[in-house]
């Protein structure tokens, strides 16, 4: 327990901690250099948050980790929920009782939670409820480039969009205030470059969670029925313009530049930071920063753009601000030329960069055409090695994939993948991921493939955390509908990709408690799968035999490949190559472990820094040349 909490604290990397007591005894002001996500967590604690829930996902995961690390007195209920929908619903219940609630997720998590959020938007909240949804332009670690600002508009709830770590820290408190003022859930949407940026913040460590009244039953308010929905829908449509007016005087919505400017840049979030970096203090162009994209602060925008004839909209993901401005121009008959994604004056996809934003604004101000060719391309280019992300040296997933691959040699088989480190099983030489769609989809898609071609062996690979998040329904669906699939649970006892968060199968939770592990094997047996086998994937021959056996059985079968993530169970074992190596490179060709390379002498070399002594290469070697060091 203590060691787990300690780990959380260390993970948060508190690096500048200069606590100083001021004359007021209860106030402990602390200065700390923190990551944006830590700032959001500390800001929520400063706002007196009572309940914090979420599901891990880059770039959002550090928020819940940080709240847990600060929760030594256990005054806050903090949890990794099994998925985002559960997180949203736990928070909704607590909010009805008057508690301030924080829910965190990455943007695709909101797709999972949207059923709950959409209805909650109609019902409303009692205690402030802030949904932090971290968008990932690029995308750097995601399946889509969806834009949560637009999701907020679809839900018809307020959206906050911080432009810096410092602003995120302040703004999260405002988000709670507005949520309670208007009895609505609100979305707080940072992007990766805010989440994973660092800055110094100053906060009072002694803030206690807010007191709340407790749940007061009121079925007319808390039970969603068509009549209530219709009534509240009308209320929301009348309310939102009022919130837009309220936002027009919000401190985060700022315009700079001198009166009479004909040109303006409209932006928000980290794109504001990039724009400001270039514009600095010059005033010959108006810079308009929108911190509350929904409901759109119309009055503020109209005021800021008085006399402006041309606007360049700088934003990532979807043309949100651009659409709002075009709508506003139509509504108020403004004679404004709007340049942005619709006119191909802003990048249509991917992340913005400070130098590209600078270049575009420079061209906009000078009235010169922007062209990609004008970018400073390095005159002398050099061929750089391609360096795709790979499964770590010693990763047990490699062994699991390899066992299935070997067992299915010569047989027609499909390999449906899922979301997690194991998506990297698609890389050569493993090449073991044929499909990947969204959390949990591997299982249901394997069923779909079976329904179209029962002759092929259909595998579904799912991680332990993903299994709990959204794998169980797929298994039930497959059993009920008589599918013939092999479920491979790659159980490494953690949520590895997002930074090793615990889940229901790990036996501990974010309150620091040891809890009963939920057994994946028992769940599967309880559902009635035809057969479940547990195997250590690093025992290669045994693992291959299990896969072969399962492939001969009808129905839904499950193999639990159990071996812990190398990052949580540290090994001090190493492998080494002896003179017996004939330089055939079979180990490299078959398993592609990053610790393996070819030395000057043509023989295989093992990197002692990264090797974990998993022995898979030794089991593959035809001449027994690889041994324990």
């Amino acid at each position: 327990m203590a060691s787990f909490l300690m780990k959380c604290i260390l993970k948060c990397d508190i690096i500048v901690s200069c606590a100083s007591h001021t004359d007021r005894e209860e106030l402990i002001v602390k200065k700390e250099y923190v990551m944006g996500n830590q700032a959001i967590a500390i800001g929520a604690l400063a706002a007196g948050v009572n309940v914090a829930t979420g599901y891990p996902g880059t770039p959002s995961s550090e928020i819940i980790d940080t709240i847990a690390a600060h929760n030594k007195d256990k005054n806050v209920h903090v949890e990794w929920s099994v998925n985002e929908k559960a997180a949203m619903e736990v928070a909704a219940g607590a909010s009805f009782a008057g508690a301030r609630c924080l829910v965190t997720m990455k943007m695709m998590g909101l797709n999972v939670a949207s059923d709950a959020l959409m209805s909650l938007a109609y019902v409303g909240v009692e205690g402030g409820l802030v949904v932090v949804v971290c968008d990932d332009p690029g995308p750097i670690s995601s399946q889509t480039e969806q834009d949560t600002r637009l999701f907020g508009k679809y839900c018809r709830i307020p959206v906050f969009d911080p432009a810096s770590v410092e602003e995120a820290f302040e703004m999260i408190k405002d988000a709670f205030e507005y949520s309670e003022k208007y009895h609505t859930p609100v979305i707080f949407r940072p992007t990766t470059r805010i989440d994973h940026a660092y800055a110094e913040i100053e906060y009072d460590e002694a803030v206690k969670p807010k007191e709340y009244a407790g749940f007061v039953k009121n079925s007319k308010r808390f039970v969603i029925f068509p009549r209530l929905s219709r009534m509240n829908h009308e209320m929301i449509e009348k309310r939102n313009p009022a919130i837009g007016d309220d936002f027009s005087s919000y401190k985060g919505n700022v315009a700079t530049g001198k009166a009479g400017n004909k040109k303006a840049v409209l932006t928000g979030g980290v794109c504001y930071a990039y724009s400001k970096e270039y514009i600095q203090d010059r005033d010959d162009v108006t810079l308009v920063k929108v911190a509350t994209p929904h409901p759109f602060p119309e009055k503020f925008i109209l005021e800021s753009l008085k006399g402006v004839e041309e606007v360049l909209v700088v934003e990532e993901l979807y043309p949100y601000l651009e659409d709002e401005l075009i709508f506003l121009a139509g509504k108020h008959h403004l004679n404004i030329k709007v340049l942005g994604k619709h006119t191909f004056d802003s990048p249509l996809a991917g992340e913005c960069t400070p130098e590209d934003v600078a270049k575009r604004i420079e061209c906009f101000i000078n009235g010169t055409p922007y062209s990609e060719a004008a970018k400073d391309v390095a005159e002398e280019n050099i061929k750089l090695p391609i360096r795709p992300p790979v499964l770590c040296a010693g990763c047990p997933h490699r062994a699991s994939f390899y066992a299935v691959k070997q067992a299915m040699k010569g047989q027609k088989a499909n390999f449906c993948g899922d979301i997690g480190c194991y998506t990297l099983g698609n890389a050569m030489p493993l090449d073991m991921v044929d499909t990947c769609l969204c959390m949990g989809a591997g299982i249901t898609m394997a069923q779909g493939l079976f329904n179209t071609d029962p002759e092929t062996v259909n595998f579904a690979f799912v991680g332990d955390s993903t299994f709990f998040a959204s794998g169980m329904t797929g298994v039930a669906n497959a059993i009920y509908n008589e599918a013939d699939i092999i479920l491979c649970v790659l159980d490494n006892s953690t949520t590895a990709m997002t930074g090793h968060q615990p889940h229901p199968g790990t036996g501990r939770n974010m309150m620091g408690d040891f809890v009963d592990k939920i057994s994946i094997e028992k769940i599967l047996l309880g559902m009635g799968v035809a057969k479940v086998e547990r195997v250590n994937p690093l025992e290669h021959e045994k693992a291959v035999a299990v896969v072969k056996e399962m492939a001969s059985i009808k129905g839904v079968k499950a193999i639990l490949f159990e071996s812990p993530c190398i990052a949580i169970v540290k090994s001090n074992k190493k492998m080494t190559v002896t003179d017996k190596c004939i330089g055939c490179k079979k180990c490299i060709r078959e398993i592609g472990c990053p610790a393996l390379s070819v030395g000057e002498d043509g023989k295989v070399k093992i990197d002692a820094l990264t090797c974990t002594g998993c022995t898979l290469c030794a089991q593959v070697c035809p001449t027994d040349a690889i041994v324990n060091a």
């Binding site: 500048v16 770039p59 660092y198 795709p388 770590c392």
Partner: protein
């Protein structure tokens, strides 16, 4: 005026700790500092960068290309990959020990570290080549390179941060049990210049 340091390398080389130490050191010197990290899928053996920005006219968490005063590269091809970030006359400290991606081990082709170094020397006259293996030999593991190279940067006069501040940064950033070793590693880095 800001002072910008870009750290780059391959996921797992310890660039994140190095950037945290630089940021903490700058803060100890009462400077305004911001930084940004690569976190997520790319950490699994992919290229990673850390942006450290010191100065009060900084808004962007990322260093704009052409604005880095110093690049500290943990791997030669990663230095080449990020060379566009370097300001004219900026300095580069590069580790000459290469990490070949698995894709290259598979295809059998190897990239030439020396070719990368030659390319870098064409890009800047201010290039300092170090070797992580020899630099860290005394400490038994090249894993200490992330702290040693900061000593090299300071010793070579590239850091706009005082030695005292960096030592304090190590004391309050690194896990207790490793503080003394890391201070020793850092001082060794300085002395190696």
């Amino acid at each position: 005026m800001s002072y910008n340091i870009l750290l780059c390398g391959v996921g797992g080389q310890g660039t994140v700790l190095a950037s945290k130490l630089l940021a903490a050191g700058a803060a100890k010197d009462k400077k305004v500092v911001h930084s940004a990290e690569t976190i997520g899928m790319a950490q699994r053996g992919g290229p990673v960068t850390s942006h450290v920005r010191i100065g009060d006219d900084v808004y962007s968490p990322l260093i704009p290309k052409g604005c880095a005063d110093l690049i500290i590269a943990f791997e030669p091809s990663e230095a080449a990959r990020n060379i566009d970030y370097l300001k004219k006359d900026g300095a580069v400290i590069v580790n000459e020990v290469t990490i070949n991606p698995v894709t290259q081990a598979l295809s059998g082709e190897k990239y030439d570290g020396q070719e990368m170094l030659d390319f870098l020397s064409k890009k800047t006259s201010n290039l300092k080549v170090v070797n992580s293996n020899t630099l860290c030999e005394k400490f038994g593991s090249a894993k200490f390179f992330n702290v040693a190279v900061l000593g090299v940067a300071l010793g070579a006069g590239y850091l706009d941060i005082s030695k005292d501040a960096m030592i304090q940064a190590i004391e309050c950033t690194v896990k207790k049990d490793f503080v003394d070793t890391n201070k020793e590693v850092f001082n060794h880095g300085i002395a190696s210049v």
